[in-house]
């Protein structure tokens, strides 16, 4: 998926990798693809569907809610393997938000929107924000990781 205007980069780090990209939907696809490549090269025993979904929800919120799709703002993504866990961190350059209220919002089955935070919570082991609300850390069960 070579997008002309996509400004994104990726580099390995200890037990995983990091990416950064300027706000855009293509950036989300770019990172999801890096995640799929990494998953197929590393036996984690983690559920690929859950991870793809969590990655997309976290990045979508960072790009559209956090950075308001402003291409001057970047999104930072990290995936790291820890014993029996994958740790995913997504940071945006927005103002943060009152996540304490939002994570407790009712899940409305028939609403058009408002499922992202529910998916992050229900498909992960834990999904927590920093105080400000611009850094999300998600832990995902991954039996296979010895690390």
């Amino acid at each position: 998926m070579a997008k002309n205007n996509l400004e994104a980069s990726c580099e390995p780090c200890e037990n995983g990798f990091k990416c950064r990209f300027r706000s855009s939907e293509d950036g989300i696809d770019f990172v999801e693809e890096r995640v799929q490549v990494w998953l197929s090269a590393n036996r984690t025993g983690a559920d690929a569907f859950s991870i793809r979904l969590i990655v997309r929800e976290a990045l979508t919120n960072a790009v559209f809610h956090g950075n308001r799709n402003d291409p001057a703002k970047e999104v930072f993504f990290t995936l790291e393997a820890e014993p029996h866990l994958l740790r995913i961190q997504v940071e945006d350059q927005g103002q943060g938000f009152n996540w304490r209220d939002k994570v407790l919002a009712p899940l409305e089955p028939t609403a058009k929107r408002g499922r992202g935070l529910t998916i992050l919570q229900t498909f992960s082991r834990s999904a927590r924000y920093n105080e400000k609300g611009n850094v999300l850390t998600v832990l995902i069960d991954a039996e296979g990781v010895q690390a």
Binding site: E57, A111, R115
Partner: protein, 97 residues
């Protein structure tokens, strides 16, 4: 690509891509076009879909609402365990065939 097929008064809609991000707009427009043509009983067949995110689910729910308002209906068919789990966790299991 979205395949469309008529079967016993129902319209089967079979998207050939994952229902994620703004890509799902194409699916919404297709279903709303069908509704406008009076084809309001829709089966959404997810056989070629490997992932749906919150935007994808939102579009499915929005289409269901529009079809119901016009006296139609929408049901989802899939064998994908992960997608079934997703609909169940979002309290939308009733939408599955």
């Amino acid at each position: 690509m979205i395949e469309i097929e008529e079967q016993q008064g129902q319209t089967i809609v079979r998207p050939g891509f994952d229902l994620v991000s703004h890509r799902v707009v194409e699916l919404r427009d297709t279903i709303l076009d069908l509704a406008a043509q009076g084809r309001q009983k829709v089966i959404l067949d997810l056989v070629r879909v490997t992932l749906i995110d919150s935007m994808g689910v939102g579009v499915v729910v929005a289409c269901l609402k529009t079809l119901k308002q016009r006296g139609g209906d929408l049901k989802v068919t899939t064998d994908n365990e992960d997608i079934i789990r997703l609909f169940n966790l979002l309290k939308l299991g009733y939408i599955l065939i």
